[in-house]
Structure formats: C-alpha cells, structure tokens
C-alpha cells in the first residue's frame, strides 16, 4: 500500500501548475490594484462605474484574471516547466507580500 512516508517528490500536472502560477500572479495584481485605486481616485470611480462598487469590480476582475490565466498557463504548459518546489515558494511568497503589503499600505497611506 502506498503511504505518505514512502512517496517521492514528483511534478505537478499542467492544470495544477498553471493555476498555482495564476493564483500567485492574481494575488499580487489584487494587492497592486487595491493600492493603486486607493491612491488614484479616477481609477476607483471608473471601477465603481462598471458594477456599482469598486470592491465588486475588483472581485470580478480577480476571478476572471485567475481563471483566464489558469487556463492560459495550462494550455501553453509554461508553469509545468517551473520546478514545483519553486512554484510553491512563489505562491507562499506572493501571499506573504500581499498580506503584508496591504496592511502596511493602509497603515501608512
């Protein structure tokens, strides 16, 4: 019986790798967009005009970006070529930067 202990490191499928890379990029873009719309009022107003609220527009944008990039990376199989451990580090790093970046931005600006 295969167990967690005797398993060996393996590659991720094109779908998983693609969506992990898409998630890392989306998380960073989300942070950049939050800071940019906070600093540049016309962007916030433009986002508000699309769906009635800038938060709703940002959520829809993030969702579309994640799904779009995920399928794109899966199709061109680019994320598959990246070392999976590196991909995990990229995702964890992106989430860390996003969380810290948002907190620091709203604390000081």
């Amino acid at each position: 019986m295969a167990s967690a202990i005797d398993s060996q490191p393996l590659k991720l499928t094109a779908a998983t790798a693609g969506f992990v890379l898409a998630a890392a990029i989306t998380v960073l873009v989300n942070t950049a967009l939050a800071c940019t719309k906070d600093a540049y009022a016309p962007l916030k107003l433009f986002m508000k005009s699309i769906s009635g609220h800038d938060w709703t527009t940002q959520g829809l944008f993030d969702l579309l970006l994640f799904v779009g990039l995920g399928f794109f990376f899966m199709r061109i199989r680019v994320a598959e070529k990246i070392d999976p451990n590196r991909l995990i580090r990229v995702l964890v790093g992106a989430v860390g930067i996003a969380a810290l970046g948002l907190a620091l931005w709203y604390a000081f600006f």
Binding site: T13, V20, A34
Partner: protein, 140 residues
C-alpha cells in the same frame, strides 16, 4: 474549517482518504463562494452606516486600517480556496510535492482566514466603541 480539515487529511494522505480530501477542498471552495456573495451583500448594503459611525468614533483605524485590509485580503483567501480543489485532484498519497502544495495552500487559507476574522472582530468593536462614545457624550 474545511481548509484545516484538508490540511489534517493531507498530512495522512492515503488512497483511502483521497476522495475525502477532494470533498473537503470542494466544501472550502463552496463556503468561500457563499461568504463572498453573502458577505459582499452585507458589505455593500449594510456596512456604509457602520463605516460612518466608526470614522466619527474614537477608533477610525477600525475602518481605515482593518476594514480596508480585510476587504482586499479576503480576495487572497478566496483565490486560494478556489485553487484548493484543483490542487487536490493530484494523487497526494503518491506525490510528495503535490502534498506539500496542498498543505501550503490549506495553511495559507487558514492563516489569512483567521486574519480576516480577527479584523472583523476589531471592526465590530470599532462600531461598539463609537456607539458607546456617542452615548456617553449624549449623557453628559
């Protein structure tokens, strides 16, 4: 909670619990989608008066720092929760890298989720202290 369930199951990944891991991941994704819709509805329709109260009260940072961070950090948790069912499609019991990935995603969901929840508690307290402050000013 479902992300913690995935984390614990993935620590002991075996062929026997593979479908349970996938179910838990799906539960996490469905719950975050429900939180997105319900929380979003609440935020758009009922939060503005609370925001006005907080900003006039003694804890304006409850909105300026905690709500602003929370409402954007939520998207990070949401994207991770949508990624989880995709990652759990891998055979975690035979692929150590995939298991590491799922453990990382589940842990990140739990941590960012707790941060969002904690911020929510401070925002609630921001409303409470604003109301107490206006009450005490009215009593004087």
């Amino acid at each position: 909670m479902a992300a913690v369930w995935v984390f614990v199951e993935a620590l002991n990944a075996r062929p026997e619990n593979a479908s349970r891991i996938r179910t838990a991941a799906l539960v996490a994704a469905v719950c975050i989608a429900a939180a997105w819709i319900c929380g979003g509805y609440w935020y758009l329709h009922f939060y503005p008066p609370e925001k006005a109260l907080i900003l006039k009260g003694p804890w304006p940072f409850a909105h300026n720092l905690f709500m602003e961070t929370k409402e954007h950090l939520f998207f990070v948790t949401a994207i991770l929760a949508l990624l989880l069912p995709i990652a759990t499609r891998e055979n975690l019991y035979s692929n150590a890298t995939a298991r590491k990935l799922v453990l990382s995603i589940a842990l990140l969901i739990a941590m960012t989720g707790l941060a969002v929840e904690g911020a929510g508690a401070i925002i609630d307290h921001g409303v409470k202290v604003a109301l107490l402050d206006s009450e005490s000013k009215g009593a004087r």
